[in-house]
């Protein structure tokens, strides 16, 4: 076990899914030809002025509320000033000392750590993660997950910059700027350094993404840059002299959750080695920025100019401060709906699902959960509904790349089938056959059952068939009597051939009963 604890805090930039940009009415759609979604305002043309997009602000407020943040009643805009070709005004409109929200938390389902003594309640460098209080849901049944609150320092709204691409082909250094993205609303969510492992970091991001998806505030597409993550990471090393904190490193350019996880896994031993070599502690050297190389799966130092960045923040005189009334907040709070954490708890308590099952369903998004709830209500069995959702519905969705809305069979039609299975009218295997056929024909379960000639086999017919087969197979009777249970399989197979409608489970019971009565030969 390594003698250190990882201390990780994340800065997450979330592109809000507004139709238009933060300070003008240009489209935010991804993938258009470069510089076609621009106007005088977002390209910073002399004389233009920003006008705040109220929708973006409301989406941000909703997110902050869902992150349990406090909201400032009065918030303002600041200019963060630096020179870069993809920043046409020479400043980015952001929020500096009066962000609209502060001090919240996100509850994550953290994997229980293997060793390292991390997990809920481990010590942080800038504070301590609050362990779940008593009113939080109990630790989850799966055993490997534990609830943990990751504290949020602040969430603020800002405009995105444009995109620079550099052609580094030898001799033809060529840089191009696309300003389609310039002015797109970005919500920056800054966590406390409460994360203690790569797996926790991933869990935090997954939960955050899920929350944002439920809120409908972002599509969270990391490839398209809708979700960008910078991680601040250092180590707390146990030494005989006590705990030593190593210098903080900021890791950038991580394009996927996996990349974040791998980068954190890479950084921990690297920083430990550096400490062993140099003995550098927190405060001995300035914060280092490292990039993530996805191909070689390693971080690398990014060259930084000596001059420390002084952003010369200035309240933006072109924008009026925003005031948020308590009334407005309550209104927005009412629109949040049931969020993932609450939803999981409800699925577990109302439908008797395990933590694992509720996690799987909730992670699929609100529409799928709605489908599940309807199905469970209609068929009257949550566990059965959950199994069919996971093993059948989601499998087909995955294979055919369908959303739940596109899945051809509605919850009522599926519930009809599930009820028939539950009532023993057909077994699960035949039920699957029926479902497969329903998907093709779009007919109801009843129709398909009839088409396939499925009908419940009379008990007396089953006894008769069983006896007949036993009589014809004395060898099998002997095998069964001597405890060779697998011998039953061949008999059931023969029975199914004779009558495809027999319920194999019931047939097996009858078989056992009849064999027991059979005299030993």
């Amino acid at each position: 076990m390594p003698p250190y604890t990882l201390i990780i805090g994340l800065e997450t930039h979330v592109q809000l899914s507004t139709a238009t940009k933060l300070f003008c009415r240009c489209s935010t759609k991804f993938g258009a030809l470069p510089n076609t979604q621009t106007c005088p305002v977002c390209i910073g043309m002399p004389g233009t002025l920003p006008v705040m997009n109220r929708e973006a602000f409301e989406l941000s407020l909703r997110t902050a509320l869902a992150l349990n943040c406090s909201i400032h009643q009065f918030t303002k805009w600041d200019r963060k000033q630096y020179y870069y070709p993809d920043l046409p005004k020479g400043y980015q409109i952001s929020q500096y000392d009066l962000p609209f929200s502060y001090e919240g938390w996100l509850e994550i389902q953290a994997p229980l750590s293997l060793g390292q003594g991390n997990g809920a309640g481990a010590e942080g460098s800038a504070g301590t993660a609050t362990p779940s209080p008593q009113h939080a849901p109990p630790q989850r049944g799966r055993g490997s997950l534990v609830s943990k609150r990751i504290r949020i320092i602040r969430a603020h709204l800002e405009e995105d910059a444009g995109k620079s691409t550099h052609d580094e082909t030898a001799g033809v250094a060529d840089s191009r700027i696309d300003l389609n993205r310039a002015g797109t609303p970005l919500l920056e969510i800054v966590s406390h350094p409460d994360l203690r492992s790569a797996a926790e970091t991933r869990a935090y991001l997954a939960e955050l993404k899920l929350l944002l998806t439920y809120l409908g505030v972002s599509d969270c597409n990391m490839q398209e840059g809708s979700l960008r993550v910078d991680a601040n990471i250092n180590l707390h090393i146990d030494t005989p002299q006590g705990k030593i904190a190593t210098p903080i490193v900021e890791v950038k350019n991580m394009n996927s959750f996996r990349a974040v996880e791998r980068a954190m896994e890479y950084e921990a031993p690297r920083q430990y080695e550096v400490w062993q070599e140099t003995g550098q502690k927190l405060g001995d050297v300035p914060k280092q920025t490292r990039g993530w190389d996805d191909v070689h799966e390693r971080t690398y130092g990014q060259r930084r100019k000596e001059e420390s960045s002084d952003y010369r923040y200035l309240p933006d005189p072109d924008l009026v401060p925003v005031t948020i009334s308590a009334e407005k907040l309550e209104q927005l709070r009412a629109t949040l709906g049931e969020l993932p954490a609450q939803l999981r708890t409800r699925l577990e308590s109302t439908y008797g699902l395990t933590a694992y099952d509720s996690e799987v369903l909730v992670n699929q998004g609100r529409e799928l959960v709605d489908y599940f709830v309807q199905l469970a209500e209609l068929c009257g069995n949550g566990k059965q509904a959950s199994n069919w959702m996971q093993q059948d519905v989601m499998r087909v969705m995955g294979e055919q790349h369908l959303s739940i809305a596109e899945y051809p069979i509605g919850p009522a039609a599926l519930a009809e089938l599930l009820k028939a299975v539950k009532a023993g009218e057909l077994d699960t295997t035949r039920g699957r056959e029926v479902l497969a056929r329903m998907l093709v024909t779009r007919n109801s379960a009843a129709v398909v059952i009839q088409d396939l000639g499925i009908e419940k086999v009379d008990e007396s017919d089953m006894y008769a068939l069983c006896q007949e087969l036993l009589n014809a197979n004395p060898k099998i009777v002997d095998d069964l009597k001597s405890g060779k249970q697998q011998a039953a399989g061949s008999l059931i197979g023969q029975a199914k051939k004779r009558n495809p409608n027999i319920n194999p489970a019931r047939f097996r019971e009858i078989l056992a009963e009849l064999v027991a009565r059979e005299p030993t030969s």
Partner: protein, 517 residues
């Protein structure tokens, strides 16, 4: 009286009565420009053909009995700080020499839809920074009353255009006095509206929290006419205020009863030319004779106005002007030369194994920024960018910017308190009459002091109007200023109108108008 010598109000009446056409009037203005502007140099660009086409179009509509806008074909000159679609808009800076905005400023759009004929763009101090129009990146403008003197600034071209009767109206901007001071020095009427009264959209920003667009004309009546057209809420400018625009021209003739005029004793201290002081006192006497009551008031923090202004304005300017870096906007330095020089310098340092020198060497992008800005901006603009950058830097921000904001609040509070006991404040607009070209160039601080009486209105966000009240012995106009609480333009204009009805100083044009060149 020649057509061009008449006021906008008189001309509008004739236009509407069909006694004169917009084309005749526009041609008369263009002729006047042709006659005098080679000496005055008020215009950076004259749009002769476009103006004539617009005038003809308006005349045609009037002839057809179709609706014609409120300005009815009156020629107007516009400070080159306001964006005009498809035409150069330079802010009198070499930096923007080739900038052609693709859009109209809101004020320009309002002028067009009111059927103004925009005859040209007027000269100014570069990015509106200055009080003499000598800081123009192209050429200085001269005072029509004495061509050796400055018309003031930064809206010097706009003021000179009206004073030399090249246009009956012009549009200027006022960040620290840039409408009122040149109006005072050129013997015309100029109004700085309340902050938020007129849209700033499309106005190349100098100091966003102080900039305000306003009208210049011969009389309060003319100024009221133009303000009525350009004022009003603009959804494209969040700082513009959604308040109805009064019909200034209609209430104008109504004299103010029981007018209480505040007088500030400190205005008459050191630095005020005695001729100016006497003329302003005389103006106050006129008001007394019209029944106004004089109230002594105090603006104890006004003396910090210049200092406060010269922190806040440069801070905002340093930010607003960051975009002129040669990459997206503004003059771009010769890249090929720059890259070659950089390579030579690098080779030299490498040969000398000068690692420190190599570390200090700018990359090509930074060098492009530096050189483009060095070449594109004039000295005064650079001075203010440096002042602002310094004041906003870490460690200085609280001592300068935050402190200046606090004083700004105190100045505003002073006004609020003063306006409890008076309706308007009367006083000088400039400490002296027009100064000679070059006279203050070597000493920027002395030039900053010409804004002494005007900056506080910008800091407080209130309105002010400058109007003529006499002539110096040297034959130069003397103006005075009225300031009123926020959104009392109506009162300011009525008070100015009262004064102009009782006196006739404003009707007398400079010699350049009446004599042949």
């Amino acid at each position: 009286m020649r057509l061009v010598e008449q006021t906008a109000t008189q001309l509008l009446a004739q236009l509407n009565a069909g006694e004169v056409t917009s084309l005749e009037l526009t041609r008369a203005c263009l002729d006047q420009i042709h006659r005098v502007d080679s000496r005055v140099k008020a215009f950076l660009r004259v749009r002769s053909d476009a103006a004539i086409a617009t005038a003809e179009e308006i005349d045609q509509r009037r002839k057809n009995g179709q609706p014609v806008g409120r300005l009815g074909g009156l020629p107007v000159a516009v400070k080159d700080l306001l964006c005009t679609a498809g035409e150069p808009t330079t802010a009198a800076s070499r930096m923007l020499e080739h900038f052609h905005p693709p859009y109209d400023a809101t004020v320009i759009a309002r002028l067009r839809s009111a059927d103004a004929v925009i005859v040209g763009k007027t000269n100014m101090d570069e990015f509106a920074m200055g009080g003499s129009t000598e800081n123009s990146g192209f050429f200085p403008t001269r005072n029509p009353w004495d061509l050796q003197r400055t018309p003031g600034g930064s809206s010097g071209g706009a003021a000179a255009s009206v004073a030399a009767r090249m246009t009956p109206l012009s549009v200027g901007s006022d960040t620290g006095g840039s409408i009122r001071q040149p109006a005072g020095l050129c013997g015309i009427t100029g109004l700085k509206p309340t902050y938020g009264r007129v849209s700033r959209y499309g106005v190349i920003a100098f100091a966003s929290s102080l900039d305000q667009i306003g009208p210049l004309g011969q009389t309060a009546e003319d100024v009221a006419l133009l303000l009525e057209v350009i004022a009003g809420h603009d959804p494209l400018d969040s700082t513009s205020v959604a308040r109805p625009v009064p019909r200034y021209t209609q209430s104008l003739r109504e004299p103010l009863k029981n007018l209480r005029l505040g007088v500030v004793q400190e205005h008459y201290g050191e630095g005020l030319n005695h001729e100016v002081a006497a003329a302003v006192r005389e103006a106050i006497n006129v008001y007394k004779s019209l029944g106004a009551r004089i109230v002594e008031i105090e603006l104890p923090h006004a003396r910090y106005g210049i200092a406060t202004y010269y922190v806040i304005a440069p801070c905002e300017a340093s930010s607003n002007l960051a975009r002129y870096d040669g990459v997206h906007y503004g003059h771009r330095a010769d890249e090929k030369r720059l890259i070659t020089e950089l390579a030579v310098e690098r080779a030299r340092l490498e040969q000398a194994s000068d690692q420190a020198g190599l570390d200090r060497l700018d990359n090509a992008l930074v060098k492009l920024y530096r050189r483009s800005r060095a070449e594109g901006f004039g000295a005064e603009v650079k001075r203010r960018i440096m002042l602002g950058t310094y004041a906003l830097s870490a460690g200085y921000y609280d001592a300068y910017y935050v402190r200046a904001l606090k004083v700004r609040r105190l100045i505003r509070n002073d006004y609020d308190a003063a306006f409890k006991s008076c309706d308007l404040i009367v006083g000088p607009v400039t400490p002296d009459t027009a100064f000679n070209l070059g006279e203050k160039s070597a000493d920027p601080l002395s030039l900053y002091l010409v804004d002494l009486y005007t900056v506080t209105a910008n800091l407080a966000g209130i309105g002010g109007i400058a109007l003529p009240c006499g002539m110096s012995k040297a034959g130069l106009p003397i103006g005075f200023q009225l300031q009123g609480p926020a959104f009392t333009e109506e009162t300011l204009l009525r008070a100015a109108y009262m004064f102009q009805q009782a006196t006739n100083g404003h009707q007398h044009p400079p010699a350049i108008v009446t004599t042949n060149a």
